[in-house]
Symmetry: C2
Subunit: 375 residues, 2 copies
Amino acid sequence: MHIRCLSTPALLLDDERLARNIRRLAARLAPFGVGFRLHAKTLKCVEVARRAMTTPGGPVAVSTLAEAEWFAERGVLDICYAVGIAPGKFERALALRERGVALTLLLDSVEAARALAEFGAARGHVFEALLEVDCDGHRAGLAPADPDLVAAANLLRARGQRVTGVLTHAGSAYDLGEPSPQAFAALAGQERAAVVAAAEALRAAGHACPVVSVGSTPTALFGEDFSGVTEVRAGVYLTQDLVMAGLGVCHVDDIALSVLCTVIGRRGSDGALVTDAGWTALSRDAGLKGRFAEFGYGLVQDENGNLLAGLRVNETNQEHGLITGAPGKAVPALPVGTRLRVVPVHACATASGFETVHLCQGAEEKASWPRCRGW
Amino acid sequence: MHIRCLSTPALLLDDERLARNIRRLAARLAPFGVGFRLHAKTLKCVEVARRAMTTPGGPVAVSTLAEAEWFAERGVLDICYAVGIAPGKFERALALRERGVALTLLLDSVEAARALAEFGAARGHVFEALLEVDCDGHRAGLAPADPDLVAAANLLRARGQRVTGVLTHAGSAYDLGEPSPQAFAALAGQERAAVVAAAEALRAAGHACPVVSVGSTPTALFGEDFSGVTEVRAGVYLTQDLVMAGLGVCHVDDIALSVLCTVIGRRGSDGALVTDAGWTALSRDAGLKGRFAEFGYGLVQDENGNLLAGLRVNETNQEHGLITGAPGKAVPALPVGTRLRVVPVHACATASGFETVHLCQGAEEKASWPRCRGW
């Protein structure tokens, strides 16, 4: 089916670019002999995940329990819930584990470890937990030398729970002042050093620590040393986006995701094209600091996916997108009804508005897949 | 049920504040004897709309055809689709009208009018259309004096379609440099003048123009003259948000919407509280220019809805929110598992992530209602 038959806005995934992005990371990681755990949080779609996971059953990382439940129902059984779990979610995690899902939980304090240990002991269940390590001060995790790391592991062990290892995420990769391959490689080294040090601290306390997990798309693609690491996680590399292009992690023409929209009018004052893709479709994510003038809320392609140089989505309202040109660049007076595609600033945020993703080859839809939403 | 039994993040709607906000606008508009059409785009929830609509069957304005279908299935039959329609959506609009829904469409060019007129004539259907008038250069609409306004109406009439009137929206109310009651009243005057002039131009060309529609929450609440106007539209006034509070349209304690979340940890470097409400729950909307330092991605309340002065959500990742204090203000070391509420910056954007809204009285859930999503 031609994509012009789709109701707009619609989320398109370019099959060829997706395959290329998957091959790129696989080729990059192969020489290191390190494991790979896909992070599913961008598309939250099992059919897409199957293209990238090393087996049909996983492994996968997820950002919500709703995703864990969604993937488990579809035969993916090796799942890491890679966000520190709130105690109110223990019941749902238990239900998944009792169904046979190898669900690993993430903890980053003695307090959280105690809560899980008490719940597990009370319910007669042995949970598997990773301890989160802070490698860059970004948000969560314990410093590798923090005595609470070993204390949390000991507390879990004392209540019969399993500590399977350590996990970190170099979230600061997206905020680097001067991003470059060298800077990402250095940050990957920092990720590795933090998590390996944490694993050693745990091993010194008698915890086997079989899992040593790192990851972010920039550090996965530019890391040069994964010794001591057992698995690398990455997610947005599947689709890439303008944040990644702005960081130099990919080129704009590697971006596999776009939002199909329709021109509904033109603004009288400046000829801006008005489309039916507002912020519900594109998200309010304005991307990298200082790059808004270049990328706006998205670059613009024609219906076939060819970039229309100089155009960008400069404003969004709830259901209106306004496309303008670079300074001095006229906006073509495209007719009402013209289909365009918008290349997303932040793929995860853009995808989150959609319940369906359409796999495309050029302007042909090849498949239509459901996405998981909510929590 | 106590809200602590809800899985987080969850969208809460305070029943008392909702009722107060509804009464405020109704009382404000009553002396003018003008009609009221609720805009449903914020909560997209028929149970909420029934509190504010003048009858159980409407009238209502919607921002997507999915909302029109959703409301029609639930007995709301007087619907204005208040976004310029893309030709690809005519079939769905026709299907609704053939089911007996009084669905009015919005057009703002001769080109769009021709497309609808040709479709209607080809399908033997008489559509009802409003012409969109530009009152402030915000995005869409024809200037009142633009000859295309009458040309579009004539073209529709010539093909047997019904032009029911004119509609405008003072979207620039949200961008006023110096917002004040006087500035909103002046803008309401500008809205009124534009749409009344457009109606007069149409009447001079022999179009009866029974509908003269204006609206935005600030102009609806502060307008001082609605003569010649037949209906006022407003939506976000139901819940209000920090954008509206920042503009002086409401007080922070008028805001009826919040996101219930759970503390999952604390950041080592600064003690920031880490919660499970990231940007999927709060949206990436950063609100009014220059007010981020004050409001962040949301202010913070305790579980019972009492504001915790000085705290705000300062950073969000996909599933992590980071709460910090104002400069010099310490962040309380709340235990893991503590429930908090986040007061939204932009209610429409925050609500859009949720499929359910929980009506609450204090910390008691009184009802749980589904929301429409998608397009």
